[in-house]
Each structure stands twice: as structure tokens, then as C-alpha cells.
């Protein structure tokens, strides 16, 4: 060191530092808070990750990133504190060497976290090979050109390598954002999308907070924008580092039980505590210290309560979801079982009915007259039994989604006329009148006539069954581009309570089985499903018990 240099250094009157870190050269004690908080945070979070998620690759990558962050923080603190030019040059070189590593590991971490597996060797080369020039040239004058003694700022003059470092840092950050967007687009679930969003924004914000000091300090140092406070303001960014690193660590630890609500509430409480605790570094009066202490304690207590209640709610929701899944499985098994049983029974009853029919028709010889009523009774009973089983089977098929609809245009009026022909005998047997006003013009609708015939048959049959005396009147009209079919009866009527579950699975009126002993409760449920599958509507009106009912089916024409 020549005489001129020695004179200039002594004229600056820099204070001597202790352990290279503590000195009066630091212009503001804020430097210690802004560096030591992230440093301690990096160690604490790194330790937590190694303890909680050692086998997790993303956690190990984040720990490596934190190691380079720690090198950077110590180096930066030394630069602020030391009065020795050679120490400044070494520390300055170290932070420029460590900084791109933090970016590279951040990108590597975010990709591994999002993909939930390691990346290919080639991808690793793409991420880490750009660091080689920085590694090789850091000891040379490409990194630092020299020490600036033209003022007393204790600055190194940076070489082209440092700008190369800034350039690759920008590329790393952009690569992370672009990759994040692409990954977000192909995320399959909401939870996956939220994870991508949180890990990307957390990593980008971490890098921004990390670079904030340099950005503000470098870009506004020569301007009068912040006056002498450019570097002071720049220090605030580092306070964000432990918060965002904490968020990333938390995402790893809670990977299996990922929940945005819980993470958000914990991150909120954690940030509030860090910010409030850091206020102890600024407040000077006892009153302020007491106020900050009270606020901190209140935040801790209320934050704890908030997190606990959110966690409880999440646990309850998970339990309900698990029960719902179990219920659905049990329900599906039940449907399969009912389907199997009814199908088997239908086979037996059909066989029995065929035997009755053959005997009645004399296929096995002449039958005595006295036996005819008994055979007829057996035949009718089996016919009714088959109809009942078929109804249950239809409902079961609808529920399990096995019913498919082949929709074609057809004449609804003709279809209803066919149904009337089929049902007229049963109405006449009960002594009921069955009148129809279907109009003169055909009404063409598009749908599965095979399924719709069941719907219209069911709804008319329902009215016949629940009408002990009087009659059933059917009307069909074209109204506002829709085919409105009405079944009016003078039957038992429906109470408002019964009306609520009339079209539900197995739902029928409280007293209905007294009138119709064969009621399965599936008839109107089937009608509703078939009509709604054709974008139609079915509903009922009744003024109450004993006052009859009016059923409506509306289909688009």
C-alpha cells in the first residue's frame, strides 16, 4: 500500500470494526436488523426443514439456497462494517459469487416443488452452467476492478462479471415466472393451481425482497429521489426474506395436508409477529416499548386462536368429506345390490306369470271353471309384481346413470293416445272416466319416445291409482314453444308436506299406501328424471286432501 493510499484511508477516519461485523461505520443500526433477522431466519428455517422434511428434495434444495443466502448476508454485513479495503474486496466478491447461486437454487426449488419430482440432468445443466463464468472469474479483475478511494464510501468498483451476474439473475427470475404460468395452466386441480401460485409468487417475492436493497440502492443512489436514504430504504426489503422463505418452507412441510386458508392465516400471524418484534429496534421510549409489547402479546394470543379455529374448521370439513365419500360408496353398493335382487326376482315372477298364462289358455289340458278365478288372480298378481319390480329397476338405472336417451323427433299427441289406449281398461275397471282433449294438430317434440312413454304412462297411471271415484282428464296444448300436458283428477289430493317429496326417490304421501298398496314411491321420481333429461319440467298443483290434483309435464317443442 503506497503512501497516497495510506493517507487517503487515514483521512477518511473509519472506525475499527469488531469481528469484522460490528462498527460505527454502519450508518444505521437498521442494517443489523435487516441482515441478522433473515440470517437467523435462514438458519431456523433451514434447521426446521432438515428436521421435518429431510427426505424431501425440494426442502434440501431450499436449504442449499439458504446456505448461499447466509453467505450473502454475512458478506454484505461485513462490507457495511469493515474499514479494511482488502476485507471489503473479499466480502464484495463473495456476495457477487453467492448471489446468482441463490437465484439458481430458487428456480430449481420452485420447479421441483411444482413438478413433485426431480428435473432431468440436462435441465440442471441449463440452470447451473451459467454460473461457471462467475465461479471462474470471481478471483480476477473481471469481478472487481479495484477499491474506490475517491470518496470515503468504502466501495469496490465492480467489473463486467457483476453485470453478467445481474443479467442471469433477471433470466432466472423470468424463467421462473414463465414456467410458473405454464405450469399453472396445465394444473389439473384447484389445489394444484393454488400450490403453483403460492410457490411461484413466494419465490419471486423472496427474490424481489432479496434484490430490493440492490435495486433501490443502485438505481436511486445517484438520484435525489430518496436523498441520503436510498440504502436505508433498501434495507427494508430484506425483512421480507424470512417471511417468504418461511412461506416456502411451510409449503414443503405442509405438502401432504396443503390448505390455503391455514397457510394464509399462519403466514399472516407470522408476518405480523416478525414486523412487530422488529419494531423493538426502533422504538426508544418506555411508553412505546410497552405499547409494542402489548400489541405483540395480543397478536400472539389472537393469532394462536385464529390459527386454531381455522385448523379445527379444516379438520371438520375433512371429516365431513371423508364421511360423504364413505356414504357415496355405501350408496353405490346398495344400488348394485338392489339392482341384482330385483333383476333376479323379476325373472322368477315372470316365469310364474307365464305358467299361469299357459294353464289358463289350456296348454296343459282343460281347466275346471272353478279354478279360473284363482288362476286369473295369480296372473294379475304376477303382472302387478313385474310392473313394480320394473319400476324399481328403472329408478335404479336412472340413479346409477345407466339410462341413455336416443333422441329423435316424434309426435307427442300420438304417443299419449297410445298410452291412453293402454290405461283406459284399468280406469274403466275402477269405474273412472278417462277423458282426453289432445287437440287436432300433431305436436312434434325431440326425445327418446321409448323413455317418454314411461313418463306419460306413469303420470296418468298415478292419477288413476289415486282417484277412488270421479275421473281423470288429460289435455295437451302447445304454449309458448312448449308442449304442456296436464293430468287433472278428482282424487285424494296432496297436502303441502307431501308435495315436497313427491318427486323424490321413494317419496310418496303419508297416507298414499292406504289408497295404493302397491306404491313403490319411484313412479314420479322416474317421471321427473326422464322429463328433466329432455330439458322439460314436471310439477303438481293441489288444493289439499280430497280436492284432486293437477300434474303438468312441459317439454320443449
Amino acid at each position: 500500500m503506497n503512501g497516497v493510499v495510506s493517507d487517503l484511508i487515514s483521512s477518511c477516519e473509519w472506525g475499527a470494526s469488531h469481528f469484522l461485523l460490528f462498527s460505527a461505520n454502519v450508518f444505521d443500526p437498521l442494517i443489523y436488523y435487516s441482515h441478522l433477522v433473515p440470517l437467523l431466519g435462514a438458519f431456523a428455517i433451514g434447521g426446521l426443514l432438515l428436521f421435518q422434511a429431510q427426505k424431501n428434495l425440494a426442502a434440501r434444495i431450499l436449504v442449499w439456497g439458504l446456505l448461499f443466502l447466509a453467505i450473502w448476508l454475512v458478506g454484505d454485513l461485513v462490507i457495511w462494517a469493515t474499514e479494511l479495503p482488502n476485507v471489503t474486496m473479499f466480502a464484495w466478491s463473495m456476495i457477487n459469487l453467492a448471489e446468482p447461486f441463490v437465484y439458481a437454487f430458487s428456480l430449481y426449488f420452485a420447479i421441483v416443488y411444482m413438478e413433485k419430482r426431480d428435473i432431468s440432468f440436462i435441465s440442471k445443466l441449463w440452470i447451473f452452467l451459467p454460473l461457471l463464468p462467475t465461479i471462474f472469474l470471481t478471483p480476477t479483475h473481471f469481478a472487481l476492478l479495484g477499491y474506490d478511494l475517491t470518496n470515503c464510501d468504502r466501495d469496490a468498483v465492480e467489473g463486467i462479471l457483476v453485470y453478467y451476474g445481474y443479467a442471469i439473475e433477471v433470466i432466472y427470475a423470468l424463467a421462473l415466472i414463465i414456467y410458473g404460468f405454464a405450469r399453472h395452466r396445465r394444473a389439473a386441480t384447484h389445489s394444484d393451481r393454488m400450490q403453483v401460485l403460492l410457490v411461484c409468487s413466494g419465490t419471486v417475492l423472496f427474490l424481489l425482497s432479496f434484490a430490493f436493497g440492490n435495486i433501490i440502492g443502485s438505481f436511486f443512489d445517484d438520484l435525489t429521489f430518496f436523498g441520503d436514504y436510498s440504502w436505508t430504504i433498501g434495507q427494508y426489503g430484506l425483512f421480507g426474506v424470512p417471511i417468504f422463505v418461511g412461506l416456502l418452507a411451510y409449503l414443503i412441510v405442509r405438502f401432504r395436508a396443503f390448505n390455503v386458508g391455514l397457510i394464509a392465516s399462519q403466514a399472516l400471524v407470522g408476518s405480523l409477529v416478525v414486523i412487530l418484534a422488529s419494531e423493538f429496534g426502533f422504538v426508544r421510549t418506555t411508553l412505546n416499548q410497552i405499547l409494542v409489547s402489548i400489541t405483540l402479546v395480543l397478536t400472539l394470543v389472537l393469532g394462536f386462536m385464529l390459527i386454531r379455529s381455522v385448523r379445527k374448521e379444516i379438520e371438520q370439513r375433512r371429516r365431513i368429506e371423508s364421511l360423504a365419500r364413505e356414504l357415496q360408496i355405501a350408496n353405490e353398493r346398495q344400488v348394485t345390490l338392489i339392482h341384482f335382487i330385483t333383476h333376479q326376482i323379476k325373472g322368477f315372477v315372470t316365469k310364474s306369470r307365464n305358467i299361469f298364462a299357459s294353464v289358463m289358455e289350456g296348454d296343459y289340458g282343460a281347466v275346471p271353471d272353478t279354478m279360473h278365478p284363482l288362476l286369473k288372480q295369480g296372473f294379475d298378481s304376477d303382472t302387478q309384481g313385474i310392473a313394480t319390480i320394473q319400476e324399481i329397476l328403472n329408478a335404479s338405472n336412472i340413479k346409477s346413470g345407466k339410462v341413455t336417451y336416443e333422441k329423435k323427433p316424434f309426435d307427442l299427441k300420438a304417443l299419449i293416445e297410445g298410452v291412453i289406449t293402454t290405461l283406459k281398461p284399468s280406469a274403466e275397471t275402477k269405474g273412472l272416466t278417462l277423458t282426453a282433449e289432445l287437440g287436432n294438430e300433431p305436436i312434434t317434440v325431440t326425445g327418446d319416445s321409448g323413455q317418454l312413454v314411461n313418463a306419460y304412462k306413469n303420470i296418468i297411471d298415478n292419477s288413476i291409482k289415486y282417484t277412488p271415484k270421479g275421473g281423470v282428464t288429460l289435455t295437451l296444448e302447445k304454449k309458448d314453444g312448449k308442449a304442456l300436458f296436464t293430468v287433472s283428477d278428482t282424487g285424494v289430493g296432496i297436502t303441502p308436506e307431501d308435495m315436497k317429496n313427491l318427486f323424490t326417490e321413494g317419496g310418496h304421501g303419508k297416507e298414499s299406501t292406504k289408497v295404493n298398496v302397491d306404491s313403490t314411491g319411484f313412479g314420479l321420481y322416474i317421471v321427473k328424471n326422464i322429463v328433466e333429461a329432455h330439458k322439460g319440467r314436471v310439477w303438481v298443483e293441489s288444493e289439499g286432501t280430497g280436492k284432486g290434483s293437477r300434474f303438468f309435464i312441459e317439454l320443449p317443442v
Binding site: V5, L8, F90, F121, K124, F136, H141, T150, V157
Partner: protein, 53 residues
Amino acid sequence: MDKSKIFFIFLGILFVLSASATFYRYLILNNVSFFTNAEEVQDPFDWSVYFNL
């Protein structure tokens, strides 16, 4: 040992070597250039600074 591990160990060794060489240059050899006036301060974007053009 897979090639990724070998690559990261290689990178780590390079990092340590680089840091050691920098330490040796500045703290053992005390090889620091000082700029004592504004004219001496070199422009990092001037290639002649690095290659003696």
C-alpha cells in the same frame, strides 16, 4: 453415484476453489488496486480494461 450428484459436488468444489483463490488474492497477497482520483476509476464496460487492447 448418479451424474447429478457428481455435477453438484464438482460445482461445490469449484465454488470453494474460487472463494479460496479470492481469499488468497485479497487477504494473503493483499492484491488490491486502489483508485485515488476520479480519472483513475475504470469503466467496467470498456473491454480494454480487461484485455489491454
